[in-house]
């Protein structure tokens, strides 16, 4: 039997309040391309972080090429020959391709950087990958796909024998995916072990030799990829236990008037031709894997991205906002996915965060009316159920769930008619999640509408009246009412065939 490149035995890791991994075993041999599958929070990223030395496991042993290793830091991970290429690339944009490949250990001669040696070495690495990128080119001038290849090149140069690719195709278009898959094939042929994290079954079938499925921190199954049907994979990802809490009752009637409709929406670079309606009182979900264009649709509607459409109507009138202010004036308001970066100002008070989207409602001639502001803030805090010590304390003091409620409260205070929520429950505990669903439901029940984007498919089952499924920038299916269940959603979003445009 071939000796394993990596052998993990009984790896466990717990974070306060949650077990991320439980006695997990994992093996990878040279030349193997292993697809790692699991839902959000199943433990995939913890496993990858432990391998990379970013996180330390609580117990268990790690063997690399038959040797027991203790990985204390990312540097240890690199030394052990393990490299990770994340979704967020870590290249320095103002340096050349060669400098990035040799980053931190540029070859030197007589105390100076040996540019010739560096360019030669980089060219050799790129040749091994079988790609044509000029080593002297600046990173800024090359595409995202090429930057990703540069990172893979860096991993090779560092002598990586185990390469972890975390959703590598989420920001690529179809022909770029083919280039990447070809590179992966040639690496595996030369003996590199590859861990490939993806939600796209069609890609997995093309590239992976074997699959491992994890769920709730436990190893569920490992085997050759052609031994599992997609149905089996979905079943194993979901497990048998009863999924999703009680669905919130909806008062929405399927014949309610359409408040917004759009035909053939296209948003560069991902959304090609999406047509859909939103009805009064509806919570509409948009499901799709990362990079399917779900965020782009919300951003387009919120006036943050230019878009084209054959017809876009809001309450019967043409809707084509050229900026955020116009969209807000029409009552279309979005909460961004990145709470800390874009959603809220954590060093300011909770009170100000709640009213800053609509200062006009609590001020006169530009002067803030404290009494009106406190009244409005108290009302928001009550309806949102925010737990706090004082309304004027810094937002940073609140838990993630309560911060998210403030972000939603801020959007609600701007008096929206259509509320666009991009991953509103990310990093939020289960109790607060339920409260956020209830807020969405209440808002819709008042005759408005909510568009809800999430990466966790179970969530749609709990709150949505209807879900549209987005794949490669197109709406490929729609589920409504009782038909919304995690299994169908997973089937439809992962997809067997990649749509070719």
């Amino acid at each position: 039997m071939t000796r394993a490149l990596v052998e993990l035995k009984g790896i466990s890791k717990a974070y306060p309040g949650v077990v991320a991994l439980e006695a997990l075993d994992f093996q990878l041999v040279a030349g193997e391309v292993r697809a790692l599958l699991g839902k959000n929070g199943a433990g995939k990223s913890t496993l990858v972080k432990i391998l990379a030395g970013v996180v330390k496991s609580d117990s268990g042993t790690i063997m690399i090429s038959g040797e027991v290793k203790s990985l204390q830091s990312p540097a240890d991970g690199i030394k052990a020959g393990i490299a990770t290429v994340h979704q967020e690339l870590s290249v320095v944009p103002d340096m050349s391709v060669a400098e990035n490949i040799y980053i931190g250990s540029w070859p030197r001669r007589n105390g100076r950087i040996d540019w010739d040696e560096m360019h030669r070495g980089a060219a050799a690495v790129l040749l091994r990958l079988g790609v044509t990128i000029d080593p002297k080119q600046s990173i800024r001038k090359i595409s995202i796909a090429e930057r990703q290849l540069v990172e893979i090149g860096r991993a090779l140069r560092q002598g990586a024998r185990i390469l972890i690719l975390d959703e590598p195709t989420s920001s690529l278009v179809a022909h770029e995916v083919e280039v990447l898959l070809a590179v992966i094939r040639s690496l595996s042929a030369s003996g590199t072990g590859i861990i490939y994290i993806s939600h796209r079954m069609d890609e997995i079938r093309k590239i992976a030799t074997s699959v491992t499925i994890v769920r709730d921190g436990k190893h569920i199954a490992t085997g050759p990829v052609n031994e599992f049907s997609s149905g089996q994979v979905v079943e194993m990802l979901l497990g048998t236990k009863n999924h999703g809490a009680q669905k919130l009752t909806s008062n929405m009637s399927p014949t309610a008037p359409v408040v917004f409709s759009i035909q053939n929406l296209s948003v560069a670079p991902r959304v090609v031709a999406a047509s859909f309606d939103i009805r009064e009182g509806e919570v509409l979900g948009i499901a799709g894997v990362l990079g399917s264009g779900r965020t782009e649709i919300l951003q387009a509607l919120a006036g943050l991205r230019p878009f084209k459409a054959d017809a876009a109507k809001l309450h019967g009138t043409d809707y084509h906002p050229s900026n955020l202010a116009q969209a807000m004036a029409c009552g279309v308001i979005m909460t961004p996915e990145d709470r800390r970066g874009e959603g809220a100002i954590t060093m300011l008070g909770i009170d100000e965060n709640l009213v800053m989207s609509n200062w006009a409602s609590v001020s006169r001639f530009g002067t803030i009316n404290r009494t009106a502001m406190m009244k409005k803030v108290a009302e928001s805090i009550r309806t949102l159920g925010i737990k706090l010590a004082r309304p004027d304390e810094a937002l940073a003091n609140l838990s993630g769930g309560n911060q998210q409620k403030v972000v939603i409260g801020k959007a609600l205070n701007a008096n929206p008619r259509i509320l666009l929520l991009d991953e509103p429950t990310r990093g939020v505990d289960i109790g607060a999640k339920r409260q956020i669903y209830e807020l969405m439901r209440q808002f819709a029940d008042r005759g408005f509408a909510v568009v809800f984007v999430s990466g966790e498919l179970e969530e749609f089952c709990e709150v949505c009246d209807r879900v549209i499924i987005l794949r490669s920038g197109q709406i490929t299916a729609e589920l409504s009412g009782e038909k919304i269940n995690t299994q169908s959603l997973l089937d439809l979003t992962m997809g067997e065939q990649r749509e070719q445009n």
């Binding site: 874009e342 100002i345 954590t346 001020s363 530009g366 803030i368 304390e393 940073a396 003091n397 801020k410």
Partner: protein, 328 residues
């Protein structure tokens, strides 16, 4: 010793929250008290009324612009052009007066010009993404240059004794520039705490992207902040020309750094989002008293720079630590 929470009344909770939130100002207040006590003992004539009023007058030339600079720093920007702007405004004022324009109308024109210079900075920052440090560095060079060219680097006399009272006169026993400073302090305290514009400045500096997505007009706020500082720099130029009795292209050399030092000692973050007018006021008083005390102590003028440099550094470090410790 631990106090059971049930005994802790809401009143003491309120006071402790106040002390936490104002840790920076309370700390500075203590530092000023200590400095005054030391100087009162060791520096002859420090604690006389006349000297304290002198401190106030000196502080005014730093303080008036400092209110605008506090807003600039809170919004996450910087303006280093204010020193040369003061000199430029003084020379422009004197030239206008020389051409027979009423001095008070000339003063208004100069302040209008100050607003335009500020708008220029703000527009380049907001619409062309030129960092404000670079724009104001260019103006730092250019404005002093323009002042020198316009005046041949020779002071232009303003022979109007009534006007000279503005910079050197007294009103109710207080130097007139100090009255300007105090009135503007009250105005800017109100602006920064109680107006939509003021709070938007904090929002922009705290997280510009979140502010934009909340519908706050980020570009307009930035332009307004620079325009306000431009007007205040021009006003200081007018007062300084009045005090000197001339428009002088060499005036206010290094003033921009005295101002930034006072604002930063006052607890305003150079990274934006944090700062108060009260903190800046205390920072100004602290530095003005220190400078005055060093003179009275007879410290070698060259050595004064060394002392000031290290004291400012120490004050800012104490400030950073105190904010870190009671992070709210």
């Amino acid at each position: 010793m631990t106090v059971p929470t049930s005994i802790k009344t809401t009143e003491t909770a309120r006071i402790s929250f106040f002390l936490k939130k104002r840790a920076n100002e309370v700390g500075l207040f203590v530092a000023i008290a200590v400095l005054y006590a030391i100087l009162a003992v060791f520096a002859p004539n420090f604690s006389t009324a006349g000297n304290l009023l002198n401190i106030l007058r000196d502080a005014a030339f730093v303080g008036i612009i400092a209110w605008g600079m506090t807003l600039v720093l809170i919004s996450g920007e910087i303006d280093i052009s204010v020193g040369p702007h003061v000199a430029f405004a003084g020379v422009a004022l004197a030239l206008l007066a020389q051409h027979g324009i009423n001095i008070y109308i000339a003063a208004l024109l100069v302040m209008l010009m100050g607003a335009c210079i500020g708008i220029f900075i703000g527009v380049l920052r907001s619409y062309f993404d030129v960092p404000s440090f670079i724009v104001t560095l260019a103006l730092w060079l250019a404005l002093r240059g323009i002042a020198q060219v316009m005046s041949d680097a020779v002071p232009i006399v303003i022979a109007d004794y009534d006007f000279q009272r503005l910079g050197s006169g007294w009103f109710l026993g207080v130097p007139i520039p100090a009255i300007f400073m105090i009135v503007l302090f009250l105005l800017f305290s109100f602006i920064s705490t109680s107006t939509v514009f003021g709070r938007s400045v904090y929002a922009v500096g705290g997280n510009a992207e979140a502010a934009r997505l909340s519908g706050i007009p980020v570009a307009r706020i930035r332009i307004q902040v620079f325009a306000i500082t431009g007007v205040l720099a021009a006003l200081t130029g007018v007062l300084m020309a009045s005090r000197l009795g001339s428009g002088n292209s060499g005036a206010a050399s290094g003033l921009e750094f005295d101002i930034i030092a006072a604002v930063v000692v006052g607890g305003t973050s150079l990274f934006g989002g944090r700062g108060t007018m009260l903190g800046t006021l205390l920072g100004i008083i602290f530095i003005a008293a220190l400078v005055n005390g060093l003179v009275l102590l007879g410290v070698d003028p060259f050595a004064q720079g060394i002392v000031r440099g290290f004291v400012i550094l120490a004050a800012v470090m104490v400030n950073i630590f105190s904010i870190k410790r009671v992070r709210i």
